[in-house]
């Protein structure tokens, strides 16, 4: 059942919230739309913050999802620099930090995730940065440059992208990672080794298996990262990229079901039929893996924005998707489809030394996920195969002289 005249309030003006507002209008929603965001600027793309934007190849206008005028032109009441503090579901009212209240017919929670902070000594020094927002990226841009020493804590995708951009800007970069290998949580060993080698070739140094004990500073500004083994890594700035945690407190306090994220169904609906949740903050079902989990990716934010906008405007739900993500570092394009759940075999296609290869994660003869480096065919076909669950010949898949089209044939 849809009510195209309903007042939709969206909390969170990131990629998910901004897209939901635009799609609602595209799908013919005529009721009021109020888009509440903590940041001072309209919704923008975050992925370039660690790449093109940091290197000065993109400006604020090109980052914006839509120009500022778009919101007024489409009768979307965009409220920047505004934070919601409470949801009273029985009355369908949201309270803002300034005491103002907003009544809603339908509420969409798109509150995202925040960077995890390291609970160590010196964590409040200036020069300790994170990278979630345009303001964070602005601070980082000012802190890196020729002759500057940048320490990156966390060898995940954000950390590695920052390392690559830092090198492009002429900074010395050291990456400190607690695990013995990079991307330990998300990628297989072959890929970890490949990225380490590629970054080393580009002048990045690594401290692997190293735990941060604290930060040292002078006059309130960071001067070094203290490791647990007593060594101090001197630096002028630190970027901390050790993961994110969902901003689901406001939902939990309102009595909505949460489980490391707000629990939603395939329409992005929460345990309250008038409340939807989308993007990084959700714990959502993924039928191809027969489980629920939380994802942090733009494609997921867009997909759930679409699910919610379809449900609200009475459109049929979008077809089930295959989750995917990408990362750009130096001249490398990494494209990942799926997640490596229940994998019993990891298969390498191509030679990492050539800078062009793919890693397939298999469950029996079905592909669960693929990580493709500079290999669009492997990514595109792999994504299709993950979606349609077709069995593949491992022999063909492992042989790069057999084209991906033949692998599928």
């Amino acid at each position: 059942m849809s009510d195209l005249g309903a007042h939709v309030v969206i909390l969170g003006a990131g990629h998910a919230g901004g897209t939901a507002a635009a799609l609602l209008r595209q799908y013919g929603h005529t009721g009021k739309i109020t888009l509440v965001g903590e940041e001072p600027i309209p919704p923008y793309q975050r992925p370039p913050l660690s790449k093109a934007w940091l290197k000065g190849e993109a400006d604020a206008d090109s980052l914006a999802l839509k120009p500022l005028e778009f919101y007024a032109e489409h009768d979307i009441d965009f409220r920047p620099s505004t934070r919601a503090v409470k949801i009273a579901r029985a009355d369908k009212v949201v309270t803002l930090q300034n005491g103002e209240t907003l009544s809603y017919d339908i509420l969409i929670l798109a509150t995202g995730a925040r960077a995890i902070k390291l609970p160590v000594e010196g964590a409040d020094l200036a020069g300790l940065l994170e990278l979630r927002t345009a303001a964070d990226a602005e601070a980082l841009k000012a802190a890196v440059g020729p002759g500057k020493r940048l320490a990156v804590v966390g060898g995940g995708y954000i950390g590695l992208e920052v390392a690559a951009s830092g090198r492009a800007l002429g900074a010395e970069v050291v990456v400190i990672e607690r695990e013995p290998r990079l991307l330990a949580r998300v990628a297989c060993e072959a890929l970890s080794d490949f990225f380490r080698g590629y970054h080393e070739k580009n002048g990045v140094t690594f401290e692997l298996g190293a735990t941060v004990a604290g930060f040292e500073g002078q006059d309130g500004h960071v001067t070094g990262v203290k490791l647990q083994d007593g060594r101090v890594i001197a630096c002028d700035a630190v970027v901390i990229g050790v993961g994110a945690t969902p901003n689901d407190e406001i939902a939990a306090e309102a009595g909505l079901e949460t489980a490391r994220g707000i629990v939603v169904d395939l329409e992005a609906r929460t345990s309250d039929p008038s409340v939807f949740a989308i993007g990084d903050v959700t714990h959502r079902p993924m039928p191809i893996y027969d489980r629920m989990f939380r994802m942090e990716s733009v494609p997921n934010a867009l997909e759930q924005a679409k699910q919610a906008a379809c449900a609200i405007t009475g459109r049929p739900a979008p077809a089930g998707e295959v989750p995917w993500q990408w990362s750009d570092q130096y001249d490398l394009k990494l494209q990942i489809a799926g997640y490596a759940f229940d994998v019993d075999e990891v298969l390498l296609r191509g030679d990492p030394a050539s800078g062009k290869f793919a890693v397939f994660h298999l469950k029996g003869d079905q592909i669960q996920s693929v990580e493709a480096i500079n290999s669009p065919p492997e990514f595109m076909m792999g994504k299709q195969l993950i979606g349609n669950r077709k069995a593949v010949s491992k022999a063909k898949l492992a042989d790069p002289t057999v084209s991906m089209k033949e692998v599928v044939a």
Binding site: Q45, A64, V298, L302, W326, D328, K333, P377
Partner: protein, 106 residues
């Protein structure tokens, strides 16, 4: 600035002015034109900004890079005049450009 006509699969036309320097994809997205998803925001990583370039404009929109070629090769409903609109930069030369959208980007 270039006037660009985007035609949805059902025939709905959208004529908008797009600033020089933006891409044909950005011109659609910033004007909320349906039919171009552009999930990756222009990183040439997803092939969801697929368009057909009208014959008269094929030369002026330039050639495809190896990466674009490779992505298109595995997209749906690909024709000889298929392009990824995130890879076409708008210039005054493209004033009057007409592109059509496929039935689906997924």
């Amino acid at each position: 600035m270039a006037k660009i006509t985007y035609i949805e699969h059902d025939g709905t036309e959208h004529v908008v002015d797009v600033k020089t320097g933006l891409t044909v994809m950005e011109g659609a997205v910033k004007n909320n034109i349906p039919g171009i998803d552009a999930d990756c925001g222009g990183a040439c990583a997803c092939a969801t900004c697929h368009v057909y370039v009208d014959e008269a404009w094929r030369d002026k929109t330039g050639s495809t890079s190896a990466m674009e070629e490779s992505m298109l090769d595995f997209a749906e409903n690909v024709e000889p005049n298929s392009r990824l609109s995130c890879q076409i930069k708008v210039s005054d030369e493209l004033d009057g450009l007409v592109v059509r959208m496929p039935e689906s980007q997924h």
